[in-house]
């Protein structure tokens, strides 16, 4: 049995399929970072740190000996707890199609937002530098006028090309910017979405957890997400009414080429 203790939960095989499928379905649209960066792993729950390939000097070392200590980036563990009513799972086993999994949906959204936020905005407390904050390019203000978005995004793409970063590029849009884009048609009714897609030449993504937007090189070894344990559902405990579960992952994120992205501020 793994540390997730799934076998201890009073959940049928069909119930686990239901929970896993629901989590997967809700997670994948929201996990914008994984659609743009390089994903490595999963290396397993026991994997604790990412090798940075660098050393730092040791203050005191034995006489006549040179010493250095390896630098690593420890993985961060994230866990979002939720509960499922036992009656709902029993109904699912009877064939119910409208099972209430609202708490699960909210939990997986929280963890997806947290993952995006760590990758794009950074998380100083765990040593993660975010793509937007690490970019050496001047941030570009999106502003209120959505019809000017193509100009801003084109400017960001130009900045990347000027820095020697070729495509494909991708555009991660925070929820507000994404809504604005979907709602806007330019002169002649041409959707803004399509115009932006033509400019970046790659994916245009809804990225909950991002403030504003980020234009970046897709893949290419510039942004490295290392997964220890990939997103998984585990068991905490239960009573006669509910089963308490959690969705969990461990990961690190590091940037090899900060200039391969441009931040667009709200």
């Amino acid at each position: 049995m793994s540390h997730l203790l799934r076998e201890r939960a009073p959940i049928t095989e069909a119930g686990w399929v239901l929970l896993d499928d629901e989590a997967r379905e809700r997670l994948e649209p929201a996990l914008a970072a994984r659609k743009l960066v390089d994903f490595r792993g999963p290396r397993g729950w026991e994997h604790s740190a990412t090798n940075l390939g660098r050393t730092e000097s040791v203050g005191e070392s034995p006489e006549g000996v040179e010493a250095a200590q390896r630098r690593v980036l420890p993985l961060v563990e994230m866990r979002a707890p939720f509960a499922v009513a036992r009656a709902e799972l029993a109904d699912a086993d009877r064939g119910a199609e409208d099972v209430d999994l609202a708490e699960l949906d909210r939990a997986v959204h929280r963890i997806a937002v947290a993952e995006n936020a760590a990758v794009f905005n950074g998380w100083a407390a765990v040593g993660i530098s975010g793509i937007a904050e690490a970019s050496p390019h001047d941030p570009i203000a999106l502003g209120e006028d959505c019809e000017r978005y193509p100009r801003h995004v084109a400017k960001a793409v130009d900045a990347l090309r000027g820095a020697g970063i070729g495509g494909p590029y991708g555009l991660a849009l925070g929820p507000e910017a994404h809504t604005n884009v979907l709602e806007t048609s330019q002169h002649g009714g041409y959707p803004l979405l399509e115009h932006l897609r033509e400019i970046v030449g790659g994916p245009l993504l809804w990225a909950p957890g991002v403030d504003g937007a980020v234009v970046m090189r897709v893949g290419g070894g510039h942004f490295l997400f290392e997964s220890g344990e990939d997103l998984s559902i585990g068991y905490l405990d239960h009573d006669t009414e509910a089963i308490r579960l959690y969705v969990e992952e461990s990961f690190s994120f590091r940037i090899a080429t900060p200039e391969a992205a441009v931040a667009l501020t709200p």
């Binding site: 659609k35 743009l36 999963p42 397993g44 344990e229 990939d230 998984s232 559902i233």
Partner: protein, 133 residues
């Protein structure tokens, strides 16, 4: 009523899904074919009669064929291991090296496409770059 013993099942057969039982039956067949191949090899080594050896060699060839068919069935149902096998079978050079390389490439490749590592209970989401294209 005493239960009939079926060696290919290590767990209570009635609790196993159909797919697993079929998989286990083919694993048992694979084992039996491999054993028969070894037995014929030993018999041929000791049999002085040329005609008898020829029959055994022909029979051993059949066992090899059955072994290959069983193996192919199992690999068709385990895509990750099929990919690893493709890096090992019918290659020249160091077999162990090919095995290590094939496993590393296949596991990494499958993970980047969204599959969990072997034995993992994760949701198997992995990298989503292909999904975004």
């Amino acid at each position: 009523m005493s239960a009939v013993g079926f060696d290919q099942y290590h767990e209570p057969a009635e609790e196993l899904p159909d797919r697993t039982r079929t998989f286990a039956r083919l694993c048992a067949s694979l084992t039996e074919e491999a054993e028969a191949i070894g037995w014929y090899e030993q018999r041929m080594a000791l049999e002085p009669d040329r005609e008898a050896r020829a029959i055994m060699r022909d029979a051993q060839g059949e066992e090899f064929k059955h072994f290959c068919m069983d193996l192919e069935f199992l690999l068709r149902r385990t895509p990750l291991w099929r990919e690893i096998a493709e890096g090992i079978l019918f290659t020249g050079g160091d077999i162990v090296e090919h095995g290590e390389e094939a496993e590393e490439e296949a596991v990494e490749g499958e993970a980047s496409r969204g599959a969990p590592a072997p034995g993992s209970e994760s949701l198997g989401i992995g990298g989503l770059r292909e999904a975004a294209q």
